[in-house]
């Protein structure tokens, strides 16, 4: 039995030879990289060369459980998956909840998967039993069916990462699901699995597992967080409706967008059709929580009314059926739920795929492609969207280009680049127009592209006009920012704050949270801060940690991630603001919303955004001209070998 929350084991599996080996997770690696994403990236650096092709056997997939996974620390179920993503060639990490605790209970902190099998397999892990098993009965089945079949055959106490047909057919839009619900691997990780003929990874717990180094210190910490979580008056809404709990605010702020991100969905009519009351009226929810989570946001949804009454589907975030499908496409909630279910089953990245379908319709509307090329009705219905989705899946006609992602569309369809919005090939989840907060700037600086990594800052600056004093309070209390750094971020003279200089600390914190496996969704995250996390770490592991050391570890991992991508050629030129953010507004009713400074409201153009990036790199201590870590920074962080 482990004396701490770590299993202290890394499992290596070579799919080509079928050989496995176990190595120790050393104290130094734990100290420097904590666990989860951090250790994943460290292992990736050791296993892969920078020029590896994403779909080659030499591109590893590394799965890591957060350091706290498997313990009763509230909401500590996050795992990370690291690989080189085929949609854009970046090296990065996706995270999901569930699987992390079960991996620990199965006896491992990380699993490194290399090579490629010559037949369809799934990887089964349970203590000393590590096997590549025949997946021929599961290959070709959708994620829900395949996972259910695995549970039926192996027992229900397993945890499963599984791909669907999108990954099997090597679409760059293919991702995986963890336990049928938690999305993992935007950018084509499903295709990486598919290229290895790996259908699923299954873990099953064993009796020999973990412990807590100092239970007497741990218990009051756990009790403290649980108490504040339970006292949160919003908790019942989060538990029962997930992020739909804040949906009504979208129709004032215009956060949900349609028409390929040209129009904000606002007003009472929109709220009546897609808001929380409409959702409650049409959908029954049953909360689903991964191990340790006491304020879950995942649900089994059951459609009560409409064409798809009776449909049941597990969804990672309840609002997705509205925010990613029904709202943007102008469909009813039951129709959005149907699409969400199909996308989960097939293992499609819904953000980028729906974005591409909207793009193709806009290309048709502007004469870039013809109706013969479009092949589907330009009026969105469930049928037309499913038609387009199937054409992408089967690589038919012009939709076959979409299967490789938006950068392929730009390259292969002349004139398309005028209408695209992406960051390093991924659709930015937070649009910077109307105000450039940390979430939307974070879409630009994330080495992996426009993904939702800093989407969950404290406080959320996706909400406009938060008083500077509130942001400063969070900077000090939540992120532990002090002294000179505070002075650089906050300008007391004009009561403003600098998004470029605040963002690095949020990135460092969220990265470190991924390393320990604690959820940083805002309704959980607000109950933690750097100091409580450090105390948890000390109690769980027996190794002393301070809040600053926690942030330092996050900074180290972020810099390692950026350095790995710099080695592939990623530099400042890749941290581009989408052209449409800079040159076109979003229409909020009849008002124009441009890319603007959060505090002053001043419009931001090419020069201003370059200055923002320069300040961001400077705050990180990087080479400002190249936008990558300097040698001095790597030395200071004890990152060597580059």
């Amino acid at each position: 039995m482990s004396a701490t929350c770590y299993a202290n084991k890394i499992l290596y599996v070579d799919l080509t030879s079928g050989k496995t080996r176990i190595e120790e997770l050393t104290e130094q690696v734990k100290k420097d990289y904590l666990g989860g994403q951090g250790v994943n990236l460290k292992l990736y650096a050791e296993l892969a060369s920078p020029d590896v092709e994403p779909l080659s056997p030499d591109n590893p997939v590394i799965i890591g459980a957060g350091a706290f996974c498997g313990t009763p620390t509230p909401s500590s179920a996050k795992m990370s998956a690291t690989t080189k993503y085929p949609i854009n060639g970046t090296i990065g990490t996706s995270a999901a909840c569930s699987f992390g605790p079960q991996l620990k209970w199965a006896g491992y902190d990380n699993v490194c998967i290399t090579g490629a099998s010559d037949k369809h397999v799934y990887l089964y892990i349970s203590g000393d039993t590590v096997e590549l098993r025949d997946a021929s009965e599961y290959w070709g089945r959708d994620i829900v069916d395949a996972t259910d079949a695995l549970r039926e055959n192996l027992g229900r106490d397993i945890s499963v990462i599984c791909i669907g047909q999108a990954g099997e057919r090597l679409l760059n839009l293919g991702m995986s699901l963890v336990d049928k619900v938690s999305t993992l691997g935007r950018g084509g990780m499903g295709a990486v699995f598919g290229s290895k003929k790996l259908k699923a990874i299954v873990v099953q717990g064993t009796p020999e597992i973990l412990n807590i180094a100092n239970p007497e210190a741990f218990q009051p910490l756990q009790d403290g967080v649980v108490e504040t979580l339970l006292a949160d008056p919003n908790r019942p809404t989060w538990v029962n409706y997930g992020l739909m709990g804040v949906a009504d605010s979208w129709f004032k702020g215009g956060i949900m967008l349609s028409d390929n991100k040209r129009k904000a969905i606002i007003g009472e009519e929109a709220k009546a059709r897609w808001g929380l009351d409409a959702f409650k009226d049409q959908i029954e929810t049953q909360p689903w929580a991964p191990p340790s989570c006491i304020t879950c946001d995942k649900s089994k949804l059951k459609v009560k009314k409409g064409k798809y009454a009776g449909l049941e589907t597990l969804q990672a975030v309840s609002n997705e059926v509205v925010a990613n499908f029904a709202g943007p496409l102008g469909l009813d909630i039951d129709e959005g739920t149907k699409l969400a279910d199909v996308y989960n089953r097939l293992g499609f990245d819904f953000m980028d795929t729906i974005n591409l379908i909207e793009l193709m319709v806009e290309l048709y509307e502007n004469g870039v492609i013809t109706s013969e090329q479009l092949e589907i009705s330009p009026e969105f219905t469930v049928e037309s969207v499913l038609d387009a989705t199937n054409k992408i899946l089967n690589r038919e006609g012009i939709w076959g280009i979409c299967a490789d992602g938006i950068m392929a569309v730009e390259k292969q369809i002349p004139g398309a680049d005028k209408y695209t919005i992406h960051q390093k090939g991924l659709m930015p989840f937070a649009d910077g127009r109307s105000n450039l907060g940390v979430e939307s700037l974070g879409m630009i600086t994330l080495p992996r592209g426009g993904n939702a990594f800093t989407l969950v800052a404290q406080p959320s600056t996706a909400i406009p006009n938060i008083p500077t004093r509130v942001i400063r309070k969070m900077a000090e209390f939540h992120y532990g920012i002090q002294g000179d750094a505070l002075a650089r971020i906050f300008n007391e003279e004009d009561d403003s704050w600098d998004v470029a200089r605040f963002l690095p600390y949020i990135e460092n914190y969220n990265t470190a949270m991924n390393c320990i496996g604690v959820c940083f969704r805002f309704f959980i995250s607000k109950h933690y801060n750097v100091d409580t996390i450090a105390k948890f770490y000390t109690a769980l592991t027996g190794t002393e940690m301070t809040g600053q050391e926690f942030m330092d570890a996050g900074e180290r991992v972020w810099n390692l991630q950026k350095t790995l991508n710099a080695q592939t050629g990623q530099t400042r030129k890749d941290d581009k603001f989408p052209k449409r953010w800079l040159e076109e507004p979003i229409m909020k009713g009849d008002k124009e919303a441009w890319l603007e400074d959060y505090c002053s409201g001043k419009r931001l153009g090419y020069d201003e955004t370059e200055e923002i990036l320069s300040r961001y790199y400077a705050e990180r201590g990087w080479n400002v001209e190249k936008g990558i870590p300097s040698k001095e920074k790597l030395r200071a962080l004890n990152i060597s070998g580059f």
Binding site: T71, P72, R156, L210, P287, W288, P290, P291
Partner: protein, 85 residues
């Protein structure tokens, strides 16, 4: 002679269970001093990912730790005074 006993009343509602496993972890830590999902007296019984029944198995002494750990209302433990003359 009057005897007063405290009766523990355990109620389980599997429909409210989210499978967060806080109950099983709490039991393992309390009774076996380790986070051992095989060794606990609380069992979540059902098919696939459904929980049809929450069961306390032989060996459980109703210490109440699993009930304290359940924050979804699936397990509640109440106390009733029973007076015997």
């Amino acid at each position: 002679m009057t005897e007063v006993r405290i009766k523990k009343i355990a109620k389980m509602n599997a429909e409210l269970c989210t499978r967060c496993n806080q109950c099983t972890i709490a039991c393992g830590l309390e009774k076996f001093d380790s986070i051992d999902i095989e060794k606990q007296y609380v069992r979540l019984i059902g098919e696939s990912d459904e929980v049809k029944k929450i069961k306390l198995t032989k060996g459980c002494d109703l210490c109440g730790k699993c009930f304290d750990a359940c924050h979804y209302g699936a397990m509640t433990l109440t106390f009733k005074e029973v007076v015997r003359k």
